[in-house]
């Protein structure tokens, strides 16, 4: 019985790890990443984040990102224009909802990928706004974690891929991090 449970745990861990692990880089794909602090959100953690391709138009515009400890990231993103689409996570133990979704407005900032590479979208914090009857949220830009911190969180999931080399090179460019 113990062996079966151990096997199941291993299987689950492997499932989680592989879900977070980057696939090999394919030209001309880019690695896009950022961070969302969910401390003030009703969701207990970030487990979902998506981008929407706005140009060129496509039948499948949504790109689901991987998440890990507040970091969101996805590899092999094709050259195009994108906007942040939606993010969310599960409610806490005493929460009224099983899952919370937050949508970004369609009139807003976006980014264009023209050349393959690493694209850091920034670090943000969820801020509650509106009221109970008209729930809204704001996103505030934050300084920490910075690009270096975010890359360090992704790095273990890039092992053995070309992304690992690119991420390490970027860390070198960024220079030494702050003392923790």
């Amino acid at each position: 019985m113990r062996r079966v449970i151990f096997g199941l745990v291993l299987l689950l861990l492997h499932g989680c790890a592989s879900n977070k692990s980057l696939e090999e880089a394919q030209s001309p794909g880019s690695l896009v990443f950022g961070y969302m602090d969910m401390d003030e959100s009703p969701a207990k953690e970030l487990t979902a984040f998506s981008l929407r391709q706005v140009l060129p138009k496509t039948d499948k515009p949504y790109l689901h990102m991987r998440t890990h400890e507040g970091v969101f990231y996805v590899e092999n993103v094709a050259p195009a224009s994108y906007q942040l689409n939606q993010f969310g996570g599960p409610g806490g133990a005493f929460s009224g909802a099983s899952f919370y979704w937050f949508n970004f407005p369609r009139q807003g900032e976006g980014f264009r990928i023209s050349k393959a590479g690493l694209y850091y979208l920034g670090s943000y914090k969820y801020k509650k706004a509106g009221s109970f009857f008209n729930p809204k949220f704001d996103i505030e830009s934050i300084k920490t974690p910075d690009e270096r911190d975010v890359i360090e969180k992704i790095l273990p999931f890039s092992k053995g891929t070309k992304w690992e080399g690119q991420l390490r090179e970027r860390l070198n460019q960024l220079g030494p991090g702050r003392k923790k």
């Binding site: 407005p105 009139q107 807003g108 009857f133």
Partner: protein, 194 residues
């Protein structure tokens, strides 16, 4: 819960649509005008035009006033709207059908276009800067304000706002609708000087 919130948002929008009143009424004949009223004639264009899939009003009651229309929020006095309009602001709105000439009943008073609002869904709106003044005189019966053309990028951000003089086309449509007994006076909207 998420579904319940969506339903609440849709309901709130439906209530808004139901509660804010009819805005400036479309005019079918000049006989509808009172002594204090004039026909306001104009047009709004979006470049590139709004795609069929860019508005989504699934399960939303009262969406006709929003579909393929830009709401031009107006007032007799100029004020800068830094936030989304309040419910009272919608009382003086022009529901401008995109890429079509509108003929609506307004007061014979100078007015300001404060902001343009385009509903993309029950919970998502895009805003268009206006800040325009339209001179209307007590002697006017019909006033042409121009074509308000907005250019946008792929992120729905307005990159350019122009007021185009397309009087010939508007006047031809005006005559076809109301006959040639009344003159359509050109009074193009001009940017507000702050």
């Amino acid at each position: 819960m998420t579904r319940a919130l969506s339903a609440c948002t849709a309901l709130a929008c439906a209530l808004l649509a139901a509660c804010v009143g009819p805005g400036w009424s479309p005019v079918e004949s000049l006989g509808e005008l009172g002594n204090d009223h004039a026909v306001i004639v104009g047009r709004v264009e979006l470049v590139p035009p709004l795609g069929k899939d860019e508005q989504n009003f699934k399960n939303m009651i009262g969406s006709d006033m929003l579909r393929n229309k830009l709401l031009l929020i107006t007032d007799e006095k100029w004020r800068r709207l830094n936030e989304a309009p309040e419910r009272a602001d919608y009382e003086n709105r022009i529901e401008a059908p995109l890429e079509q000439t509108f003929f609506v009943r307004g007061d014979k008073k100078t007015f300001y276009v404060l902001i343009g609002e385009l509903w993309l869904s029950a919970a998502d709106k895009a805003y268009f800067p206006a800040g325009l003044k339209v001179d209307v005189r007590p002697t006017d019966r019909a006033v042409y304000v121009g074509t308000l053309r907005y250019r946008r990028n792929e992120f729905f951000q307005v990159t350019k706002r122009e007021v185009i003089d397309d009087y010939e086309r508007a006047n031809a449509e005006f005559r076809k609708r109301f006959g040639s007994s009344q003159t359509l006076r050109k009074s193009l909207a001009t940017p507000v000087k702050e």
